[in-house]
Amino acid sequence: MSTTTTTNKTFKRTLSQSNRLTAYAFLLPNLIGFISFTLIPILVAFGLCFVKWDFATPMTFVGFKNFIKLFKDEGFQISLWNTVYFTVASVPLTILISLFLAILLHRKLKGMPFFRTIFFFPYISSLVAVAVVWNMLYHPTMGPINSFLIKLGLENPPLWTSSIVWAMPAVIIMAVWKQMGYYMVIYLAGLNSIPEQLYESARIDGANEWQKFRYITFPMLTPVTFFCSILLIIGSFKVFDQIMMMTEGGPGRATHVMVYEIYTQAFTYFKFGYASAVAMVLFIIVLGLTVFQFRLERKWVHYNLS
């Protein structure tokens, strides 16, 4: 805030009433849509958790029954476990790889913009098209990945999306491939903001590359890592498109994740109340994890004094 705003505060307060009309004129187009298609749905979402409704029969209030049911339901438990599996594997992998790539790119090499452009591309490409391609790459008998692995001497390469064990890793590998470029760009921006003097003085003190990373780069990047891990965890709890395109939750229920459960309960079985309860649990988990991360923040995130 500039100094003028503070000195003008009282003057502005008297003005604010007359400003109201102008302000709402600016807000109106967005506000109407915001209230009808975001705010009201959020409020309705809370209500829907407590009803049983399938469009055809009238809505009945069932209290906490939906929640009791879902915690007993095997489908929900599996979906929760699978979502956690996806998150625990894909988040650290993405962070490690994107940080590693960013550090390599940060060395002011020739052709840096070229590398950056290529790495970033999967992120903006459409998931449906990319998933279609990966499905074919993963083809258990004819796919190029397995043909390559056989050529390397592997006798029984994984069956990828057709295997209960390998379906999730297959989905995770593709997820990391698709999103690493985005986080790499964020890390690059973070690396650019580290003052060069820190490295200069470390060099004078005789620090090696690893020490420079351990005591300068990594601590200075913790705010970026914090930001990335929050985005990644929220994103991975919402994973759906990829599952729908690659495995449809299968084989069996090997990749049946939470949003897939919500989607099928709501739009295949029309159990709107139950699906809303699952969605609410998802929301609470995501919110809880974000709050928890902010709690942990001061334990490991360094913000520079400036």
């Binding site: 790495f119 998931l127 074919m136």
Partner: protein, 297 residues
Amino acid sequence: MNDQMENQGITLLPKRDNPFTFYKMKKLVFTLLNYVILFSGVVITILPFIWMLSSSLKPNNDVFSFPIAWIPETIRWQNYVDIWKQIDFLTYYKNTIFLTLIVTFNILLTSSLAAYAFAKIHFPERNVLFVLYVMTMAVPFQVIMIPQFIILKNMGLSDSLWALVLIGSFSPFGVFLLRQFYMGIPDELSESARIDGLTEFGIYARIVLPLSKPALSSLGIFQFVWVWNDFLGPLIYLTSDRNKTIQLGLRKFVTQYGAEYGMIMAGSVCALIPLIVMYVILQKQFIQGIATTGLKG
């Protein structure tokens, strides 16, 4: 890999009593290693796309031939002709372009107006409303998609592109992003314009908007890509074929003609081409947009 190991071995050979060459050699090897790793990364990143492109020009029998013939022996353009005949790709394209352009335009218009009120006009409910906007951003789409669907179904829009226009056009995120950017424009500018007799709308249109071109273009570009690539929204709303977007059309084709590998790849290329063209032209904006605002779908 062996080469790298040998290279590292060589660095140890120069005697330590000549620190200059030792340092230089070490640096050279590091740079070389750097390039090797980055280049393998590039290969892994780009290979699926190249494979897609090359397979889209092959007859079915050749798609999975190994070793991979990166350049098809006979280039078969027919796949592209066929896919436009097999399914109604033109309609899907039209629908997607319609949806993407309208939603992107609406987002830019409504968000930039609302953000102006939040950043530059003092009115009593400003903070309460803004906090409300920010809080709703924390609610995932997956949580509100069911009530949204019920509301739009009751409005008679359950199988309509307009349903997607309505749910996509008023993102609180756009308001938040632009408001943050407007806050960085000094108030003195708008104050002095006000004294000079410019109306609020005049200040918005003639001062704030031109100054926030970088933020507007980042938001616009990313919005375009999100809507173009959106899958879950269209999946819920669009059921009849004449309303489907490219993503749904591609999925439909894959489920119907699962073994037409060459054509599936041609379809994927068609779904990606507009994005590739846009990316080639606007790649700087893409990367700067993320680096400065942390834009995220």
